[in-house]
């Protein structure tokens, strides 16, 4: 790090903080792949925050997974010092926001920490629904928007058209739209200048009681939970006893500092500044995103608005492929949970799969991330059952149960009604794909609410639809039917009763609880058939015929047979072959390890996920 280029410095002994009028806090709103991370990289380079020689692509995405998928999962801030054309030195805090619909709440908190936002739109793709959703969120919070059209260097770019579209959307002059190529570095200085000129400085009360907004938290084994914060009022400093306003829990900070972009201790954060507090707390649950930190000795009268506790929307069973790994799986989930306040899990027992956990996720993407991290970072062979939403069941005795898995459904005679979660779904699409979008949503029990033309070519479609219908494959289907042009966003609406039944799958005559799904009665027959034929394809041939059946209650609605294996033998094994053939067989055996024995039948992980593929073709 080049200490000498930083004009105002930051050491343990820093006593004064940056004046609010020379602080700018902003984030970047962009759709996946529209170049948010690349732009952030350029800003870091231009301000000398990161030495170009040490630059690795997408500095802010610290998890390997983030870099690989090109999606930000965590909101990571960075502090830059910028000497503006007016000769003044400014503190710019860029807060990188998560880029997936599963993390909408985190995005809203990150936005709340800013006064402005750079809206990045791909010059060839135009605006997408999720960008729009985040943009509306930013506008609701009165953020100053700096519109930017990126990737003007691409052959398919149509910067004028997209700039006009963005200008119309924001009701600003087209000249305000900055056209850049983050990749080439073209016009990126203009973006920095606009940040200083157009985004208002923070306007908190420097003398007021401390209020700092937590917009992200991460677990660190040495410092405990490190909360990323934006100080709104007052001064956050070492030595004072601090308090989480939602829980009333007090703690003494272990370290206070800034992201430059690595954590650097400063001991103090002034009003309007962005940085971190190492809390010494043991779990991110104790420092939840959206909570307000105040001083225990002089608490603020009210917390900052907007805090809510996140609730998982999607549930799935997680089982170790080798039952010996149960404890290792629990440890791994506990460790992941330290860093992931939205992940929930509790022990679950399956007749078919043995001991495992039922885990809750914000959405499918969140679930995939957890699965990948369990496999990659903890080296576990795990099996995920088909995801399900949380249903509510009204029993004949007047109770209301919440169930997170089809296996928890009570006896049919005890059920008065099953309620399922509905969401409000927004689809943003070019007008030529309205038909295919309508068709897609109607097939999945969607109810049309309204359509708004954004401009002559684009339309926003609003529906209500059961969450379970958009969980699986919906997004891919949406992309496929619109050649990638449509995009979507959704939010929870309410629980509504539905004509739902449990569809059981029997393998070799035995019901496999982990394969049961709750489906709408009208779809049961079709889904049962598809599930059976899918299972027939993925269950490898065994030493005997294996019958696969789908049933509702006692009634079998579909069946198929996996024929017995006929041949699995190496024709030759002579002296020169022994080592190689043994290794071949060892490989075969490792392959078998990924299969789960259910009764006498070996079932691969894919089978448990085949319910996911029901809507394909």
């Amino acid at each position: 790090m080049n200490e000498d280029v930083l004009p105002v410095e930051t050491t343990e002994t820093r006593t004064s903080t940056f004046p609010q009028e020379r602080i700018r806090n902003f984030c970047i709103i962009a759709h996946v792949d529209h170049g948010k991370s690349t732009l952030a990289d350029r800003l870091l380079e231009l301000t000398g925050t990161v030495d170009p020689r040490e630059m690795q692509e997408q500095v802010l995405d610290s998890m390997d997974l983030e870099r690989e998928r090109g999606v930000t999962i965590k909101a990571s801030p960075v502090r830059m010092i910028y000497r503006a054309p007016d000769g003044q030195t400014y503190e710019l805090n860029l807060i990188d926001t998560p880029g997936h619909v599963d993390f909408t709440y985190e995005v809203s908190r990150a936005l709340a920490a800013c006064e402005g936002a750079i809206l990045v739109v791909d010059a060839s793709q135009g605006i997408e629904a999720q960008t729009l959703a985040n943009l509306f969120m930013a506008l609701e919070q009165d953020l100053e928007i700096i519109p930017v059209v990126n990737k003007i260097d691409l052959p398919a770019a149509r910067p004028d058209e997209v700039a006009a579209e963005v200008a119309a959307l924001l009701g600003v002059d087209e000249a305000e739209v900055i056209r850049i190529s983050a990749k080439e570095g073209t016009n990126v200085e203009q973006v920095l200048a606009a940040v200083v000129e157009r985004i208002p400085p923070p306007s908190g009360n420097p003398a007021g009681p401390l209020r700092a907004l937590i917009f992200d938290s991460q677990y660190d084994p040495y410092k405990g939970v490190v909360a990323s914060v934006r100080v709104v009022d007052g001064v956050l400093r070492m030595g004072a006893l601090l308090r989480m306003m939602s829980t009333g829990a007090d703690f003494e900070p272990v370290e206070i500092g800034i992201f430059a972009p690595d954590m650097r201790s400063t001991g103090v954060l002034g009003p309007g500044e962005v940085g971190y507090v190492a809390t010494g707390l043991k779990s991110v649950r104790d420092a939840r995103v959206g909570d307000t930190i105040t001083e225990a000795a002089h608490p603020a009268p009210a917390p900052l608005p907007g805090y809510k506790r996140l609730k998982p929307m999607v549930f799935a069973g997680i089982y170790p492929v080798e039952s010996d790994d149960y404890n290792a799986l629990r440890d791994a989930l506990e460790k992941l949970q330290l860093n992931d306040a939205a992940l929930t899990f509790e022990p679950e027992t399956s007749q078919a799969l043995g001991f495992g956990f039922r885990a809750g996720f914000l959405g499918m993407f969140h679930m995939e991330i957890v699965q990948e991290r369990l496999e990659r970072e903890y080296g576990l062979d795990v099996l995920f059952t088909a995801p399900s939403v949380a249903y509510k069941v009204r029993t004949t005795t007047g109770e209301e149960l919440t169930i997170h898995s089809p296996a928890q459904l009570p006896e049919p005679t005890r059920i008065e009604a099953i309620l399922e979660p509905w969401v409000r779904l927004e689809i943003y699409t070019p007008v030529e794909y309205i038909g295919p979008m309508m068709d897609l949503v109607m097939k999945r029990r969607g109810i049309f609410k309204r359509q708004d033309y954004i401009d002559q070519r684009r339309v926003l479609l609003v529906y209500e639809i059961p969450l379970s219908e958009i969980l699986v494959d919906f997004y891919n289907e949406l992309k496929a039917r619109s050649r990638g042009y449509a995009s979507m966003d959704y939010e929870f609406l309410e629980y509504r009763p539905g004509d739902l039944v449990k569809l059981d799958i029997l393998v070799a005559g035995q019901p496999v609880d982990a394969l049961s799904v709750i489906v709408h009665r009208d779809d049961a027959y079709r889904k049962g058939q598809k599930l059976v034929s899918r299972m027939k394809d993925v269950i490898p041939r065994q030493l005997f015929d294996v019958a696969i059946q789908a049933a509702i209650g006692k009634k079998v609605i579909s069946r198929a047979t996996v024929k017995a294996l006929r041949k699995d033998v190496l024709a030759k094994c002579y002296g020169g072959d022994v080592t190689r053939k043994r290794k071949l067989l060892e490989k075969q055996k490792r392959g078998k390890k990924r299969l789960k024995m259910v009764g006498h039948v070996e079932i691969p992980q894919e089978a448990f996920m085949s319910v996911l593929k029901l809507e394909e073709e």
């Binding site: 030493l543 294996l565 006929r566 041949k567 699995d568 033998v569 190496l570 024709a571 030759k572 094994c573 002579y574 002296g575 020169g576 022994v578 080592t579 053939k581 043994r582 067989l585 060892e586 075969q588 055996k589 078998k592």
Partner: protein
């Protein structure tokens, strides 16, 4: 030689001792099986992944000289050990000149104590032999011929890229008989794409008509990096149909058993008393030496293998370097697993419990009790007083049994 301050220590003899093995080789008190590899063919068959090369005719002589030298130095290092069987394989050993073959056998008899009743096999391609070549082999002491017949259907032979025709097979067998070979094996390949059960029956019956003492039937297998694998990958040839292969296999069982052959190994049938003694050494997991490019060997403590490329092999021998390029130390666990995986291929004798116990100090039924119980429950393994063997229904799915022991 760099010598330190003290001079009173060791006397260094500045003579280069040729290193034959980079590790001590265990003696084989019962005698070795000896495999000799000739890595040359007139043409490379599209399904073959053996270490063999076409078009290297000008290398034959140098290779034979190197192999002669290798035979002599190995025999030397091991102290002229006892040899129970010799197997000359390839490749096509019969591409070598009579002088070359003669040189090899002279070296073998000098360097090893070849038992008087030793089984000595030579592989031959029906397309590359004539009566005089057989005559030479017989005079050199070869007493068993293994002919790569592969099929008695012309189109199949063409598909397999063989250089011989159906007629050549019968002529080769007749020629062998006429110079005194009684013990003759025919190799057959089945399960070719589109092969009809009828065509397979024809091959089997015509093979039987030659009255061989031994028949090997191999399911066509798509081995990596062969022409066949490329054909399958780009769709020119459909992959072998395993259900069909299973059906043809059972046909072979019926037909060959009916004709009086004993099904003694998964892919091998023999007249009573005519099992291949050399291959039995492999399946019983007994010690064998391998000489020649790419050959493997095993002294029960480790398995090792030699340089595959013939020109490098030759260079190493000439340079008095070892030809051993790799080896694997066998833990007792691995050795036990290999004993099971190999021994269970022997359908009649299976794995001898007493011999296993003598070697590893534990009865396999005890050591592998849960595996044995599981396989018995599946009806794939038979436990007899002194042996463990596959049940007939396991023959076509034997890998499922083998993996349990790994």
């Amino acid at each position: 030689m760099k010598v330190g301050g003290q001079v009173d220590s060791v006397k260094v003899i500045p003579v280069k001792v040729p290193q034959v093995f980079p590790f001590p080789v265990q003696p084989a008190p019962q005698g070795w099986g000896l495999y000799l590899h000739i890595p040359f063919c007139e043409r490379k068959c599209p399904y073959c992944d053996f270490n063999t090369y076409a078009g290297l005719e000008e290398m034959y002589e140098r290779y034979v000289s190197a192999l002669v030298k290798e035979i002599r130095r190995v025999g030397d290092v091991l102290g002229r050990p006892v040899v129970r069987t010799i197997f000359l394989g390839g490749g096509t050993p019969t591409v070598l000149s009579p002088q070359g073959l003669e040189a090899l056998f002279r070296a073998l008899n000098d360097a090893f104590a070849v038992q008087p009743n030793a089984e000595i096999t030579c592989e031959a391609n029906p397309g590359t032999v004539d009566r005089s070549r057989f005559q030479v082999l017989h005079e050199l002491g070869v007493n068993r011929l293994s002919l790569g017949a592969q099929s008695f259907v012309s189109e199949e032979l063409r598909f397999l890229g063989r250089i011989h025709d159906v007629r050549d097979i019968q002529q080769a067998v007749d020629a062998a008989r006429s110079v005194g070979f009684e013990n003759v094996n025919l190799d057959l390949i089945y399960g070719l794409p589109g092969q009809s059960p009828h065509a397979w029956r024809v091959s089997l019956q015509r093979a039987l008509a030659c009255q061989p003492t031994h028949i090997s039937c191999y399911a066509l297998t798509v081995e990596e990096k062969t022409s066949l694998a490329r054909w399958v990958a780009n769709g020119r040839v459909p992959p072998p149909d395993e259900d069909l292969q299973a059906e043809l296999y059972m046909m072979a069982q019926d037909i060959l058993e009916e004709a009086g052959y004993v099904h003694y190994e998964i892919s091998n049938w023999a007249r009573p008393g005519r099992m291949c003694q050399h291959n039995l050494i492999y399946w019983r997991n007994e010690p064998f030496l391998g000489l020649g490019a790419g050959a493997h060997a095993c002294d029960l403590r480790r398995r090792w293998w030699l340089e595959r490329a013939p020109h490098i092999y030759i260079r190493r021998v000439i340079g008095d370097e070892t030809t051993v390029v790799g080896w694997e130390e066998l833990s007792s666990q691995t050795a036990m697993a290999e004993t099971m995986m190999l021994g269970l291929r022997l359908l009649q004798e299976g794995v001898s419990r007493s011999r296993f116990a003598k070697q590893f100090g534990v009865d396999p039924v005890v050591y592998y009790r849960s595996v044995v119980a599981r396989l018995q429950a599946w009806g794939l393994l038979e436990v007899l007083p002194d042996r463990l063997r596959l049940t007939p229904r396991a023959y076509t799915v034997a890998n499922r049994v083998f993996v349990e022991f790994l």
